[in-house]
């Protein structure tokens, strides 16, 4: 058996894991090789002594550190906090406000339309209130075709 082949088997030799034929060959080689014998002694020292050093002292405050991490993980991140706040604001304030504005402007608009119908001249009222014809976004003074027709039918 070559030195290298024997060396590779030495840990298993120390752990009594070699098969009968392997064991025979290794023993035969060791009986005549000081180099491999020397290595076996080195291995024996480091491999068998450390086997019982298995327990490592757990660092103190490990639970405290873990708790801090767990708490920070359950906290909502800053960006999420912003979106959460926005969502809450939308839900609690913005949407009800929008509903109220819509209702009031609906009432206002409805009453203006009612006034128009009473006066019989819708265009005049709009022009008076807003200064220009907001349906077609044209400057004051310009009267749209439909509205002209509308007036014409009157």
């Amino acid at each position: 058996m070559k030195h290298k082949t024997v060396r590779r088997k030495l840990l298993r030799y120390l752990d009594n894991e070699l098969e009968q034929d392997e064991l025979k060959s290794v023993r035969l080689h060791l009986s005549s090789c000081p180099e491999c014998n020397n290595y076996l002694k080195q291995l024996e020292k480091i491999w068998l002594t450390g086997q019982h050093l298995s327990q490592v002292e757990v660092p103190p405050f490990l639970w405290t550190r873990l708790s801090v991490r767990l708490e920070s993980e359950t906290e909502v991140p800053v960006t999420n906090q912003f979106y959460a706040a926005m969502k809450l604001f939308m839900k609690k304030a913005l949407i009800p406000t929008a509903i109220v504005i819509t209702i009031f402007s609906g009432i206002l608009f409805g009453s203006e339309m009612h006034k128009d119908n009473l006066k019989g001249n819708r265009e005049t009222t709009i022009m008076q209130d807003f200064g220009f014809n907001y349906f077609s976004l044209t400057p004051p003074g310009y009267v749209g075709e439909n509205l002209v027709d509308f007036n014409a039918t009157k």
Binding site: K4, R7, R8, K9, L10, L11, R12, D15, E17, Y39, Q42, L43, K45, I46, W47, T49, G50, Q51, L53, S54, Q55, V56, V58, P59, L62, W63, R65, L66, R69, L70, E73
Partner: protein, 193 residues
Amino acid sequence: MEDNKINMLGEKELLRDLQNGDKIVFKQLFNSYQQLVYNVCYHMSNSREEAEDITQDVFIKVLHAIASFKGEAKLSTWIYRIAVNTCLKNESRKKLNQLVSLDFLLKEEQSLHLIFDPETPDQKLEKSETEQIVRYAIQKLSARQKTAVVLHRYENLSYKEIARVIGISVPAVESLLHRAKENLAEKLKKILR
């Protein structure tokens, strides 16, 4: 041993409470398994600092995954598996970072220096330094071989238990440890030269 403590509480009850998010029970679980998890993480990473961080990661994973634990394996086996996987993931991330930053050559030099640190007090030398050499050589094994050696050498797990943790057959564990020990003998020769 840890399993016995948990058995006294009743594993089913403990699991039910854990799955309901009971923090006190989670602390009991932590107290019972912190030594096991830290031990594995330390021997897998060969660094106390990393072991501490990975141990925390492991317990966070345990907490998140406890709802999916069906009790098919022993609780300790399941925790061992999470610990080993977390260590291996951490290791591959570390390797990738080192490769990207190209400081792995420096790290290699530092690791060897650590082993043969001349400032290590003489009285500590015998046990700690020889064991450091073994731990250093174990780090050089492939992920699977390293896992098998750590569970066998430092956790005293049987081949059957190792097979359950890694998810392979008992003969596969035998052959894994066989190859691991042969490689280790080779690597130790280079270090002790």
